[in-house]
Amino acid sequence: MDKQRRNFLKIASVTALAGIGAPALVRLTSTAAVASEHVAAAGHAPAKEKAGAHGEAAPKGVRLGMVIDMRRFVENPRLLNNAIAACNLVHNIPQIDNSKSEIKWLWKAPFTSVFPEQSAYHAAGNVENTSFAVLCNHCDDPPCVRACPTQATFKIPGNGIIAMDYHRCIGCRFCMAACPYGARSFNWEDPRPYIKKYNPDFPTRMRGVVEKCNFCGERLALGQEPACVEACKGTGAMVFGDLNDPKSEIRRLLDKEFTIQRNASLGTKPSVFYIV
C-alpha cells in the first residue's frame, strides 16, 4: 500500500474536521426535539406539585388508625399506665431498665420529643407537664418498609398495618434508622429473663431482632380491640378504627376535632392522630 505523507495528512485532517464538527451538527439538527422536551418538562411540573402537596391520595381500602385524645389522659393520669401495662402483658414485652436496651411498643414521652417541630414556647401547662402516649404510627408511606432488605417488615394490604415477620428479621436495624418516630426497638439480649408474665397466646422475641407495635393484629383477628384501646374503654382516650370509612367513629372524631400528626411534613402519612 502506498503510504505517503501527503495522503496520511489528507485523511487525518478530514477525520479531525469530522470529529470536531459532528457535535455541532447533531446539536443543530436536534434542536426541535430538545425544545419539545423542555415543553414536556414544563407541562409536568404543575402535575408533580399537585401530587407532592400535603393533601393525601384518595382513600381506598381499609386503613386502620388511631386518635389519641390527650385531654382524657390529662384528666386521668393512671389511664396511660394501664394502657401500657396491658400492651406489655399481651405481647410479652420485656421490662429492661436501661434506655439502650429497653423495648417499647407503647410508651410515654414529653411533648417536646413527640412534636419537636411544634413550638413549645409558652405552651399550656398540661402540654408541658403531661407524658404523651407514643406508638408506631403505621404510616401510609412507611420508610421502615422501604429500608428493610429482607421484607421482614411490610404493610398488610388489607388493613394498612405495618407488620413484622420476626422469623425473617436479620437484625440489621436499617428500619430503626429509617423510622423518624423511634417506634422500633432492638433486642440486644435475650428478652425472656425480663418478661414478668407470659401470655401463652403470643410468642416472645429472640436476641437480635427488631420489634414494634403491631396494632394488635392478632386481637383484631379475634374481633377484639387493641389492648391499649381496651384498657381505655369508656374514656374515649384512644379511638381506633378505619380512617377510610366515612361512617366510622374515628372519622367522626377527626371531622369534629382539630388533630395533629407527628412530623407530618416528612410525608410518611402517619395513621395516629393527637388531640392535644
Binding site: 398488610i156 415477620d165 407470659y198 401463652p200 379475634l222
Partner: protein, 132 residues
C-alpha cells in the same frame, strides 16, 4: 511377595480397624423415636399422619406466611374442635409436651429448629403464668 508374613496380618488388622464401627454398631438398629401421642386422646391431626411426619415443617412455614403476611388467621377445625392457626395456638394444644413430642425425633435426627427461641412451650408459658 516379600515379607508375606507381616503384610497380610497387617492388612487384616488394618481392614478390621477401619471397619470397626460396622462390627460394633452396624447390625444393631438404634431404637427409633416414639413421639408421645396427644395426652388428651385426640386421634386426628390437621393433615394425615403420613403427611405430617414428612412435611410438618412445610405446613408450619405456610401457616406462618398466611397468618403474618396474608392476614389469614383462620380457625382450623379438627373433629369439631376449633384451633387458631399457629404453632403455639394449634399444635401445642394437643401435643402439649414439647419434650416428649417434638424433641424425641429432632434429637434422633440431630436437627435443631429455632421455633422455641421465640415460641413458648406450654411448660415455659406455665412457668410465668398470667394470673387474671
Amino acid at each position: 511377595m516379600y515379607n508375606k508374613g507381616t503384610i497380610i496380618p497387617g492388612l487384616v488388622i488394618f481392614v478390621l480397624l477401619v471397619t470397626s464401627p460396622i462390627w460394633f454398631n452396624g447390625f444393631k438398629a438404634a431404637t427409633p423415636p416414639k413421639p408421645e401421642l396427644p395426652p388428651g386422646g385426640e386421634k386426628n391431626c390437621v393433615m394425615p399422619k403420613e403427611y405430617m411426619r414428612d412435611n410438618h415443617m412445610v405446613l408450619l412455614n405456610q401457616w406462618r406466611d398466611s397468618v403474618l403476611r396474608e392476614e389469614e388467621r383462620v380457625v382450623v377445625t379438627v373433629d369439631g374442635k376449633n384451633y387458631r392457626k399457629g404453632l403455639q395456638m394449634a399444635c401445642m394444644q394437643c401435643h402439649s409436651n414439647k419434650e416428649k413430642f417434638c424433641d424425641t425425633c429432632h434429637t434422633y435426627a440431630d436437627v435443631n429448629p429455632y421455633c422455641w427461641d421465640c415460641h413458648l412451650t406450654p411448660k415455659e408459658a406455665a412457668s410465668k403464668e398470667v394470673t387474671h
